[in-house]
């Protein structure tokens, strides 16, 4: 069947997994006490029987559970993710509005942490037990251990309040009317703190993983053989050590890529970044079933896609692995 067949089979499995996740989430969300009508009544601080009945009728919550599921799944098949109860708007529209800023933030943080993590980890491993190694190791441990919310708040305190170098919150300077390159610069300025806060944890993960992996591979016999043959040290590192040591990092990177969209609630909340994480969090608090299911669909689909991509990248990096096997 070859690679195409493999991809097709995995995609089909992925569709089944995503559908199963949606059905599971559909019931899980409804198992939580309260419903959107109650949540809206809570925000209003007032309700009566007729008001709640009207809301439930509007949202279709007065139908039996299997009918609600059937309606939702039919909508899903016809690419309609439903209507948000709280926002009174199509879920697809709400997600589409927030997705770009989350992707911008997470991809930047992801690339930054992956590249720097691998570089720092490799350098530390190649100079094992030196001061460079100790410094990187200690920093990685600190970044790994410090809670994200604390790091974020302290970075705001230092760089926004005390030094006044960087904006504390937001995506861009509201009301400044920047356009073109000035807008790009403005957004970049606002991105620095959230990106760094989001990157440091993953940077530590990749650095520690890369260090351990490089150390392990560099002690293999084929590396010693290469050195004995007089191969250039740079080539040994690039072609022999890193090529092999990168596989566990790819596994981790693939795993985390799938979580890019859903794992940003804390950073988006603290830095007031207008992204998907906050949208999902607020949807959960408001029992906004359809919106939450929409975000769950997106995140689960991304996990499936990135897992597949990771396996495919494996075959490129290590030709010994055959996907069709």
């Amino acid at each position: 069947m070859g690679r195409a067949g493999y991809i097709l089979r995995r995609l089909l499995k992925g569709v089944i997994v995503v559908l199963a996740i949606i059905v599971l989430n559909f019931f899980l969300i409804r198992a939580a006490p309260g419903d959107p009508a109650m949540a809206l009544a809570g925000e209003a601080g007032a309700a009566d029987a007729e008001y709640l009945a009207k809301l439930r009728q509007d949202f279709g919550l007065d139908r039996r559970l299997h009918e609600q599921l059937a309606i939702y799944m039919w909508g899903f098949v016809t690419l309609d993710l439903g209507y948000s109860y709280k926002h009174g708007q199509p879920v697809i529209k709400l997600i589409a509005e927030r997705l770009p800023s989350t992707i911008l933030l997470t991809i930047t943080a992801y690339v930054l942490s992956l590249v720097l993590g691998v570089v720092f980890g490799t350098v530390a491993a190649l100079r094992v037990n030196s001061w460079v190694d100790t410094t990187f190791t200690v920093l990685a441990l600190v970044f790994y251990a410090v809670p994200l919310f604390w790091l974020a708040l302290m970075s705001i305190l230092l760089f926004s309040v005390v030094l006044d170098w960087l904006p504390a919150v937001g995506y861009a300077t509201v009301g400044a009317g920047h356009t073109g390159f000035a807008h790009v610069l403005d957004v970049a300025h606002h991105m620095i703190l959230p990106t760094v806060a989001l990157s440091l944890f993953y940077l530590a993960v990749y650095a520690r993983l890369a260090r351990a992996s490089v150390l392990e591979v560099s002690r293999q016999e084929f590396v010693t053989t290469a050195r004995a043959k007089g191969v250039d040290e740079g080539r040994i590192v690039r072609a022999h050590i890193l090529r092999n040591a990168i596989l566990p990092v790819i596994s981790m990177a693939g795993f985390q890529a799938g979580h890019l969209v859903g794992g940003t609630v804390i950073v988006e909340t603290i830095f007031a970044w207008p992204g998907i994480g906050r949208l999902a969090f607020e949807a959960a608090l408001g029992r906004d079933y359809t919106l939450l299911l929409g975000v769950f669909f997106l995140t689960s689909a991304l996990v499936v896609v990135f897992n597949l991509l990771t396996d495919l990248i494996y075959t490129v990096v290590d030709p010994r692995i055959e996907v069709a096997a």
């Binding site: 009544a41 925000e43 708040l153 007031a272």
Partner: protein, 532 residues
């Protein structure tokens, strides 16, 4: 009587405007146009259709765009807005509103009586608060393009206090009639008659309103624009205010522990005025269906076991008033002479519990029960209140572990009567008939419905007094009814009324006229201006 009322209102309005005008003329130069006010929305609302829900952030923003027939000063005296005058028939059953003639919707269409009739008879049919008001209306008629007559089934004394712009905003019939209101696209970009027009909504970031140059009050508003920023983290909000990036905050935008620090900043002024219309009270609620909560001695024992001053000083950092009864001090007919007299006296609490036969066991426990505080979603301070109450009750032998739940679960459990002791808070909306009655009248004991009489308290005398108070049009007689009612409820110790909230408004001193009436941040901001 009708003429007298008219003359009285007209005089009052005239004097108020004259005083404002003179004060302005002598005290400071005339305000100039221009400037942008940056404020907050927390949490970001789902939409801005304030006629369809009571989300506070929607109301704060929507009230700059949409307007009602009147609004209210600090004493709930009506100020003309879309109605320029009104008359009340001698029998108190017919209200005739004369509407302004020069008002246009933001899309240029004229505002007419048809809009008022459509809003009050159709759009607000399911509004959780105002539908109760309009259920008392027999017939609503537009006798001409600028006259609306409400014919009530019986006199309703709260009718003229009910037109809070955030509860009864007038909607454009031409954009809503015949549509599915919840899904109407204008919910997101409302068209109103107010001083500010909707301009932009960058989801997750901000909402921008701009000046309505065709506003029906010539020369107003002063500001060019108002921005509402979404900053979900409390620390971020405080920093934005401190750095001058946000000029105005309200409600719980600022956590209690930041209040003293921010209050001391020379760039800011703080006021607790402007919450008169909402008048929020917090109390410890009992589930009357479960003994011993239906025993007044038990309820009074708990009242003496709780140090309400401690809550005010340590959890609310000095903000708020200790209630003297069921009415907030800002609510109409509040009587300060009626006082619970509940001093913090654990010995007295123990004595009352002893008298009831609730003796401590070998571990000192008299009663095992549970305590469900308000969900932390509404604010961190509610967690602290739960912790304090648990400790205070334990000191008198009541073991009440905390049931920690999120907001929808809290509402569901309260509505379904699945609690023993709970902390609750509710707005009183100016008139006891509009915001107080719903909690205490026995006809409001309905399972599955939050924010009604969830405790199951029933006293025929209280029911009768609320019924009489609703239809009594004579102010003095009405005050007497509510005075008696407060006494009865204090004697019953219906709940332990813990605190009347006083939220801080922080205002950057570059701006004036921000808080000017009972609506506070839910006012239209037509006269807000920058210091020249």
């Amino acid at each position: 009587m009708t003429t007298r009322i008219l003359v009285r209102w007209a005089s009052l309005v005239a004097v108020t405007f004259a005083l404002l005008g003179l004060g302005g003329a002598f005290a400071q130069p005339a305000p100039k146009r221009g400037g942008e006010l940056h404020s907050l929305m927390n949490p970001e609302p789902g939409h801005l259709a304030i006629g369809l829900s009571l989300q506070v952030p929607s109301q704060v923003i929507g009230s700059k765009i949409m307007q009602s027939l009147v609004k209210y000063d600090y004493d709930f005296k009506p100020i003309p807005v879309l109605a320029e005058s009104w008359t009340i028939s001698p029998d108190g059953k017919t209200y005739t509103f004369k509407l302004r003639r020069n008002v246009k919707w933001h899309d240029g269409k004229p505002f007419t009586a048809k809009d008022v009739v459509f809003t009050t008879t159709e759009l607000l049919k399911t509004h959780p608060l105002s539908r109760r008001v309009f259920a008392r209306v027999e017939k609503t008629t537009a006798t001409d393009d600028h006259t609306v007559v409400f014919q009530l089934k019986e006199p309703y004394a709260a009718f003229m206090t009910a037109f809070d712009p955030s509860s009864i905003p007038i909607y454009p019939a031409h954009l809503y009639e015949g549509t599915e209101y919840q899904k109407n696209p204008w919910n997101e970009k409302p068209i109103g008659t107010g001083p500010f027009k909707f301009a932009e909504w960058k989801k997750g970031s901000h909402i921008k309103l701009v000046r309505n140059d065709d506003y029906w009050k010539p020369g107003l508003p002063y500001l060019d624009a108002i921005y509402f920023h979404s900053i979900p983290d409390a620390a971020g909000r405080a920093i934005a205010l401190e750095q001058g990036k946000v000029h105005f905050t309200s409600w719980g935008n600022i956590e209690g522990y930041d209040v003293a620090r921010l209050k001391a900043l020379p760039s800011l002024e703080m006021t607790t005025k402007g919450y008169e219309m909402i008048g929020v009270m917090m109390w410890l609620e009992f589930n009357y269906r479960k003994p011993p909560f239906n025993d007044v001695r038990f309820r009074k024992a708990l009242a003496h076991a709780i140090d309400r001053k401690f809550i005010q000083q340590n959890i609310y950092y000095g903000l708020g008033k200790i209630p003297t009864g069921p009415f907030a001090s800002v609510t109409k007919y509040y009587d300060s002479k009626v006082d619970t007299g509940w001093d913090f006296n654990p010995a007295k609490a123990r004595q009352l519990l002893d008298e009831m036969g609730l003796k401590p066991d070998k571990d000192g426990v008299r009663l095992k029960t549970t305590l469900m505080p308000i969900a932390a979603t509404y604010g961190e301070q509610f967690v602290r209140i739960g912790e304090y109450l648990k400790q205070a009750l334990k000191d008198v032998g009541i073991d009440a572990p905390i049931v920690a739940v999120d907001a929808p679960t809290w509402i569901k459990r309260m509505g379904d009567w699945e609690y023993d002791l709970a902390v609750n808070f509710i707005g009183q909306y100016g008139d006891p008939e509009l915001g107080v009655a719903r909690t205490y009248i026995s006809s409001n004991i309905q399972k599955g419905i939050p924010f009604n009489n969830m405790a199951g308290y029933a006293n025929p005398k209280v029911d009768e007094l609320f019924a009489n108070g609703a239809v009594e049009m004579d102010e003095a007689k009405r005050a007497a009814i509510y005075r008696e009612m407060q006494k009865v409820m204090v004697d019953d110790a219906v709940f332990v009324w813990l605190l009347e909230f006083e939220y801080p408004h922080f205002i950057n001193k570059k701006f004036k006229n921000v808080i000017v009436n009972a609506h506070g941040n839910k006012d239209d901001f037509e006269a807000v201006h920058m210091v020249p």
